[in-house]
Subunit: 163 residues, 2 copies
């Protein structure tokens, strides 16, 4: 939800690697950095155009690809709750789990030491060098799962995504 600012800005990361900093990239990076939520390419474009009006959709996709390659952002599916878009967020200090409520569509995040242990175990047991981890969960959030909310209203199906 609220994000702890990370040590170096995306801009600094690019510059320090000798990657060209253009006005377009600056606009996209800024939006990603200040985003309070998970953004897809389309909303990213819309917001970045506030900074850089002529910005093209293709440039957004190319910038996303760049940031992914540099492992500065993570790509999420959020259980495909709405369409097949991808969502992006700054790579966090500690990986977290994304939980998508099939009933109300809310996305929750959750971190746990167990998750960190699991990642370590994967490496130890299999020899696999873990670079990117994505753990997504679908189901019913606390509120939607509660049977006490409205006994008269028949419960919507929370077994399966909305669409």
């Amino acid at each position: 939800m609220s994000s702890v600012p990370q040590r170096r800005s995306l801009l600094d990361e690019l510059a320090s690697r000798g990657i060209r900093v253009t006005a377009q990239r600056r606009a996209v990076l800024e939006v990603i950095q200040e985003a309070g939520e998970h953004l897809d390419a389309d909303s990213l474009l819309a917001r970045a155009r506030a900074h850089e009006p002529g910005l093209n959709r293709a440039t957004v996709y190319r910038t996303i690809a760049l940031l992914k390659k540099l492992r500065l952002i993570d790509e999420l599916d959020l259980m495909h709750l709405e369409g097949e878009k991808h969502y992006y967020e700054l790579k966090p200090e500690r990986d977290h789990i994304h939980m998508a409520c099939f009933r109300c569509g809310r996305i929750e995040e959750f971190t746990s030491p167990l998750f960190e242990h699991l990642k370590i175990e994967i490496g130890k047991q299999t020899g696999f060098a873990v670079r990117v981890v994505r753990l997504e969960v679908g189901g019913a959030c606390r509120v939607c799962a509660s049977p006490a909310i409205d006994p008269l209203k028949s419960q919507e199906d929370a077994e399966t995504p909305l669409r």
Copy 2:
């Protein structure tokens, strides 16, 4: 990799729920059931056409949607190693982790009691009723991560997907 057959066939599952069993569905179910690997919609169509030549692509998608809704299969992305397709597998008795090697493209599976604990913890800590879990990992498999393989050949990038 090799799969332990589950108690009831997909066909029985449908029939017992009063869902219509058509030749087309039978063909798709059979392919999913015997698949030794993760199949996308396209390969699913190709294989199922061996049983049911006229089978249409749309029917495959509709059948996949049905099985997903009934939670008889899981949908995977396999870190989008090749395109944005989805892959499908029978819902296993115990959820497993999918590990995708960015260098050689191999997919490994891994199960761990820690993973089960983590799922339980999610529910306990957040009140979220977990229905579907997808844990995917990207990186370098044991072989590709090994620095001893070929010291002369400069290592390919294993930090990031191939495409």
